[in-house]
Symmetry: D2
Subunit: 352 residues, 4 copies
């Protein structure tokens, strides 16, 4: 498990899809070693019991969540737990000098009222507000590098915001016309057994859910508001697609300048993401397929302007479990540690 110069990291909540992605990716990371796998229901099991394909030649065992011990052993900790648990653990880990990357919603929202409205409860860890940085490197690279506490974005917000950011930042659209029609594979629903996520129910079918009230909405609006410099309200509609991995966000907005054409926007997007190696702007007429992004930390973006309606349609595709979750968290860690941003993160999918 690596040489002495590797950084020791912990993964708390290791048995879910977020956890197994982190384990999978970090095993290939040249500067990291996994020093703690923590879980509650899975404590005491070997990782191979839960994921029999992960035969590594040595044992990864899941331990109970012992904060003292985690703090001693780890320089950085990924929290991959249900909403509401991280804000109890993170302050202690920060106090012990750990860098903390939280994959839940606990550290994403800066406004406590917004949190209460959408999550139906108060957040415990009031102090950390202001310290936590939203972990979308393409937008907050510098702040992430300087922070010890990252609220990693949700999968839908990642796809949505990468599609919308250049438009909002440069004032190209009428913000209140922004509509995000998002489509996700069912792995986004996690590994808990739920009837609606059974193959027998979800395969060969398709439907929307959480219409008008999905919890990723305020997170999208918070960043859009920052980018635009004024309050933005978006329409966000998620759909469940009969596939395992991948998100496609189809974003609609009215352009302020009716003279803009597709090629103009491709130029603008290419410039905006010039230093973002994981964002791939597609040429005119090519639209992203989610499969292209699967197994990678990439985001593919396709753009089309409709001269008939003066609308722009932006399509972004990611792997919901990598760029939308575990890969992005590692991208943040790379920045926090001062490493090359792309370290240990796959950039080529296996096609088909």
């Amino acid at each position: 498990m690596g040489g002495s110069e590797q950084v020791a990291v912990g993964i708390i909540g290791a048995s879910g899809y977020g956890g197994v992605q982190l384990v999978r990716l970090l095993l290939d990371h040249p500067l990291v070693k996994i020093s703690y796998l923590g879980g509650e229901s899975s404590a005491g099991k070997s990782f191979t019991e839960i994921y029999p394909h992960l035969q590594l030649g040595w044992n990864l065992n899941i331990e109970p969540i012992d904060i003292e011990e985690i703090g001693k052993r780890c320089q950085a900790v990924f929290l991959s737990l249900p909403n509401g648990l991280a804000c109890d653990l993170a302050p202690k880990l920060l106090d012990m000098g750990c860098k903390v990357l939280d994959l839940s919603a606990d550290y994403r929202l800066t406004n406590l009222d917004t949190y209460r409205t959408w999550y139906g409860k108060d957040r415990q860890d009031v102090d950390a507000i202001g310290k936590a940085v939203y972990g979308l490197p393409e937008l907050y690279r510098g702040n992430i590098a300087r922070s010890n506490l990252i609220g990693c974005p949700g999968c839908y917000p990642t796809a949505s915001l990468l599609a919308l950011a250049p438009l909002l930042k440069q004032g190209l659209i009428d913000e209140e016309t922004a509509i995000i029609d998002a489509k996700s594979g069912t792995s986004g629903g996690g590994r808990q057994a739920k009837t609606n996520l059974l193959l027998a129910e979800a395969d060969n079918s398709l439907g929307a859910y959480g219409v008008t009230h999905h919890r990723h909405t305020p997170e999208i609006e918070q960043v859009c508001t920052e980018l635009a410099g004024n309050e933005v309200t978006v329409q966000f509609t998620p759909h469940l697609i009969p596939m395992v991995r991948g998100i496609l966000a189809t974003v609609y907005a009215n352009l302020r300048d009716p003279g803009l054409v597709t090629e103009d926007l491709i130029t603008i997007y290419t410039a905006f993401y010039r230093s973002s190696k994981f964002v791939k702007i597609l040429p005119s007429g090519i639209y992203p397929q989610t499969k292209w992004a699967c197994g990678t930390n990439l985001c593919y973006i396709g753009i089309e302007v409709d001269p008939r309606t003066q609308r722009v349609i932006v399509m972004s595709a990611i792997d919901n479990l990598i760029k939308g979750q575990a890969g992005q968290a590692i991208q943040c860690l790379n920045l926090m540690m001062g490493w090359e941003e792309t370290l240990g993160l796959p950039q080529l999918s296996f096609y088909p």
Copy 2:
């Protein structure tokens, strides 16, 4: 194949997905007998050679397309051919006294310029313009019943228009804000072998296509314009979904009256479709799954008003090959013959 009082029908272009649906459905129709299966590349084959599961105890053979013979044998003819062929055959069949139901785009558009713009060629059969009726029974029931020539709607327009019609007819929305984000199973691409429709390419992936320029757009706009009483331009974006059958249209529009709530619209839709047995308006909070409609002629509609944005989101789900194609054509035939509209059309899906 039935008693003497049954109506003899022909299916031209019987070997594709449209054809096999028509055959399948008409074999169960109590007042119809199939008297002619016509095809070009498949002429001379038995239907069982092409679809080995259709073992019927007698032979259905595909014959060359002999218009004289079709006209002699059939009282009604379904044309299930590539665009541009029906307008050559239909006039002759009409002259011979046949009722004609065309499943291609040839008789959908009333404006020849629009046809040329979107289909890139002139339409030959100029005379029939004005005679042909758009075959969406929920909107044009009376005209269909009185017509001998039906231009059956495309699959996407069926789902889109059933979702939009009550809003437009009653002036509830700002028409220029209408956006249709549509998702279809791959059977909508037909049975011709195309690389992008291979399972290896299309499964476990998702993407948009024909963005801003899909040919179903003018057909949707034509009917929207009629319903609204003024010119309507819509944004229409189709997506390919990794499943065999089904279309979901997610429709967005800004409400004119900010006081309307979800329940108001459910009431309005329920009233609008009161005499339409194939349209099922779902209760508040329930959103349609395409699987519910599969194997039926139904259209499920779910509605949600977003008080934050003053938008309405309407979701409609159909089986693209039945309500979106063959079933709807039979529904039209039922009306043209003066029969019960639901005759021979399935109303209960097999779930899951």
Copy 3:
């Protein structure tokens, strides 16, 4: 819900996949009306709450399981419950004069020791042994017609036995060489949420389970033994396939007569199933696809003799929830009531 001459039936355990198939099929049955839907966890709910697509214009409500009331209201009762419950309910229903069709394993095995060995417990209802008939109409048509208690076959045994029966009955194979490699869609696992049946786990993957010890084995062996006239032990291996519905059984056996060719066996099978309208023997070189059987009560059988190995390979395809479960139970009811065997049972799939 029908005229006075219709037979009143009950479905106990109505909310699972077996139940919803029975409801779906019986709603189309001309001589049956559903008079009782019983359930435990779902009691008090309307059927439409559980399956929102079943909007029928009237309410089907799920009632608690009150045996007295069921007996009063129903002439025939389908029990679609977990193993071990039917043998408590069935005797009481039989005493009250009901015909009972049990879809669980409780009444399939005639040997109590075998039951204990494979199911790990004693069966309570010892008296009914000998009364119950195995509900595979193609093999036990007469006995079913004369019985009041049917142990309906499992889905795998249905496909396996229809493939093997002519070979065993006519002594064509060395029985101890019989191997059944079976493949099933995940709906066979029921509607209970289990992690391994999640789309995210089961889609785009494939594996065997229950190798050498699946509980359907003794049921297959019992019937094979009866057909062969001597004790038969079979190798049975089930696999989970990433699809919703359908079973394919690929059966291997060594032929006793090395001179037999494929066409001989097709002739033998065709003769054997001459009066079985739901069994379709395919011509030489055509192998069954499960999709052909989906949504129907059919079983498609393809046969190939390998002259190099003197083996016969028989492939049978069914819809696991119809011919493998609910449809077959209705087929049995038709026989018990003296009705046409095919009544109310679909024979044409929707393709593709």
Copy 4:
């Protein structure tokens, strides 16, 4: 594209699934640089035109197949062409000093009569018979290392032979009882558009094909015969599964020694594959899922002995396009070059 010490390789037939896998894998290989992408129909195109997701920052262009030029530029050449073309190109490349790895059937069979029987034509390159080595490293590691011409195995033979080899080599089974029931995702059918591989046809369905006469049979038998030391005839039945990637082979055979139990065989397999890092023997009761192998060069093997029938059931799972094709070819190249066998080959799948 790498430093001066890297080995220059060519890929001829680069636009198919085999080609894109090779490109994908070799781009990550530390000691290889791609110096020639050759194609016929795709010549003149950039690789990104064919696979738009492969945005590499530099261009890979597909060139016409110019043998002189390939020989000049490349030290090793992968031929990924339809059967019958490699035996025309390989001799010239060998003459020019290239190492040749052929992914077609041209160099797999050592017996020309067998080739003619199963492929229906004579093979042109008679001289190379005897020179070519069958490229299954787990069985022919030494020979591969010493050879310049590799006939890379088919996907089905790879899974089948890895499952059978220990049994045959150690004389544990009655060879004539060996049955291979194999299941493959549809990517095995290649990227050519064929109706039966359309998602609309192949999804949610399942069937066998090539029963008794699939062309991978003689290749399996040739190796089995070598391993057993006497002529072996196997029963091989492939099935098409509704998924993109993966093969599962379920292998049945009668054990000679009735005293062997599952644990014995697990011990034997573990010893047999001790030095084969890509073969993972699973513990008792765990059966391989194809998804575990997807995106890797691994082969997972599960074993179960049935004491009731004295049969062993061995299940092996691979990624048909990696261990079954491109990855295995690279594994061979690693051996031929004297490199670490695992170089550049992924060993951890992305799950789920």
